[in-house]
């Protein structure tokens, strides 16, 4: 059975330079599509992949990733903005690693695009009035 899933991978600093993803292709016959890649302030690598292949290969690939020390998260957590509390300051604009925030050209109001959000959590504590909320 073929599967295709979106997952968030977090690489501790020591793994950032290792060719882990290429092994998924070579050794586990998986296809991947990088949706986002960045390094967080804590020097942790953040990679969002769409991973596809046979279910059995997929399961083995995930086991391999876990064993190397990569943390895996499904894209299921939900981050929302409390519209009452958001002041449209814009502090989040340069914090979000995936560019989920943008400004409306004329008004400079801050737009939040939930679709681009990977639930990394960075905006939760950096939003000054704490308007961003993480739901599990």
């Amino acid at each position: 059975m073929a599967v295709s899933k979106r997952i968030v991978l977090r690489f501790p600093g020591r793994l950032v330079d290792r060719p882990i993803v290429s092994r998924l292709v070579r050794d586990y016959n998986l296809d991947f599509n990088i949706l986002k890649a960045s390094v967080t302030p804590e020097e942790e690598g953040l990679l969002v992949l769409e991973l596809s292949g046979k279910q059995s290969d997929y399961d083995k690939g995930i086991r391999y990733l876990t064993e190397t020390g990569v943390r895996i998260q499904a894209l299921s957590q939900d981050v929302t903005r409390n519209e009452e509390r958001c002041t449209h300051c814009g502090a989040c604009l340069t914090i979000c690693p995936t560019g989920a925030f943008g400004r409306e050209l004329q008004t400079l109001r801050v737009i939040f695009d939930n679709e681009k959000c990977l639930a990394c959590g960075l905006c939760i504590k950096t939003c000054p009035p704490r308007a961003m909320e993480l739901h599990f």
Partner: protein, 402 residues
């Protein structure tokens, strides 16, 4: 053509005043010319909405029975310590106060989820606040322990009193070091990873009256969604800085001390604020009306984001080490575009003060004046200008020897 504030107020009362925001005036003057515009326009409204740490509220909670001398005792409001060095039941709560058991930066960066700024917001929102107090007891004030709920609607006085707000221009913060830093200007990523600014630029009150020709002590303003007044010049008021040809400060310059009855203010415009790794504060909304008394006064209000330059400062070294170094100057037009270039590198910008909310303040104040709800006041004394010779001094540290 010079007008007086009295004449402007008469027009406001008759519903005939012409009021525009500091944004609208720019095109208005372009279209009509300065002379004609000065005849037509009576008031230009400004606005700013940003974190302002030197904000506080003082409250008088009323006397207990038997009486208790909170003054000189210890008072916690929702666990946040209030200042009690005043008479029996007067308290002051500062925006940056935090609970004794807040972990602060022990685990860096600390979160600072609740502090004095949030107390002020909770007060104005009408939320109950837990007051716990201990006192030493005297013959005339025997009670020594108190635990009670208080609410703004029940207490005698609740006054917002901010000793430094509405900075005339401000630093743009960047980080030249190799690691992320957490500052009052937000999280700054290493190696010029981002830049953070905090001024409404062409809408900002003191940038529209750079030499304090109209804004003075006693000027009535929009404060926290209600009405307030300029009480004094703010602490660190520093008129003698580098200025552009048209008088606009190129560094942080003038400031305002403001006050007003907290009971008529609004939670939307006094927002408890947490700066990761730094502390608690409050985001304050201020709008100042500028009476167009002359062509000169009008000319100043036509300042645009292109004309206002802000200094770019390294918060990893220059700022903490009190070094005067300025890396570069950028305009608010560049800052608001979302990207500036520093040392040849493109750097994304973010703001801590809210421009959309500043626009809303200027528009609200305009509505109030147009509807006759808000009359202007004549200042009773001017703010210190360049001629005052005031400069901003560092602390002269003198070692204490035994």
């Amino acid at each position: 053509m010079a007008k007086t504030i009295n004449e402007i107020n008469e027009k406001i009362n008759k519903g005939e005043a012409v009021v525009v925001t500091a944004n609208e005036i720019i095109d208005f003057v372009k279209e009509k010319g300065i002379e004609k515009a000065a005849q037509e326009v009576d008031v230009v409204t400004t606005g700013t909405f940003g974190p302002m740490c030197s904000s506080s509220a003082y409250i008088n909670v009323g006397h207990t029975s038997p009486r208790m001398k909170l003054g000189g005792g210890r008072v916690l409001l929702n666990d946040v310590p209030a200042y009690t060095g005043l008479a029996a039941v007067d308290l002051l709560i500062g925006a940056t106060a935090i609970p004794d058991d807040d972990p602060r930066n022990k685990i860096h960066p600390g979160e600072f989820n609740y502090g004095g700024g949030h107390i002020i917001e909770d007060l104005v929102a009408g939320n109950d606040i837990r007051l716990e107090a201990t006192a030493y007891g005297t013959d005339c004030y025997p009670k020594r322990k108190l635990e009670t709920w208080i609410n703004i609607s029940d207490i005698n006085d609740a006054v917002l009193f901010n000793m430094r707000n509405a900075y005339q221009n401000y630093n743009v913060a960047v980080n030249l070091s190799e690691k992320t830093i957490y500052t009052y200007m937000g999280m700054l990523k290493p190696n010029l990873g981002n830049a953070s600014y905090s001024s409404a630029g062409q809408l900002s009150p003191l940038l529209n009256d750079p030499y304090y020709r109209t804004i003075g002590i006693g000027t009535k303003i929009f404060l926290g969604g209600g009405i307030g007044f300029v009480a004094w010049h703010g602490t660190q008021h520093n008129p003698n800085v580098l200025r552009t040809e048209n008088g606009v400060p190129r560094r942080s310059a003038g400031t305002l001390a403001v006050m007003g009855d907290l009971k008529q203010m609004n939670q939307r415009w006094l927002v408890g604020t947490s700066m990761l790794g730094y502390g608690c504060t409050i985001t304050v909304g201020i709008g100042v009306p500028i009476p167009i008394l002359s062509e000169e006064v009008l000319q100043y209000t036509t300042v645009t984001d292109d004309d206002i330059l802000a200094p770019v400062v390294d918060y990893s070294r220059a700022y903490p080490q009190m070094q005067p170094d300025v890396i570069d100057e950028v305009s608010y037009a560049q800052l608001k575009s979302g990207q500036i270039t520093i040392q040849g590198k493109k750097v994304a910008t973010a703001s801590l003060s809210s421009y959309p909310r500043a626009v809303e303040i200027a528009s609200t104040l305009k509505e109030w004046i147009l509807n006759g709800k808000f009359l202007l006041t004549d200042p009773v004394a001017p703010l210190p200008g360049i001629e005052s010779g005031i400069t901003f001094r560092p602390l002269k540290e003198r070692p204490i020897e035994d």
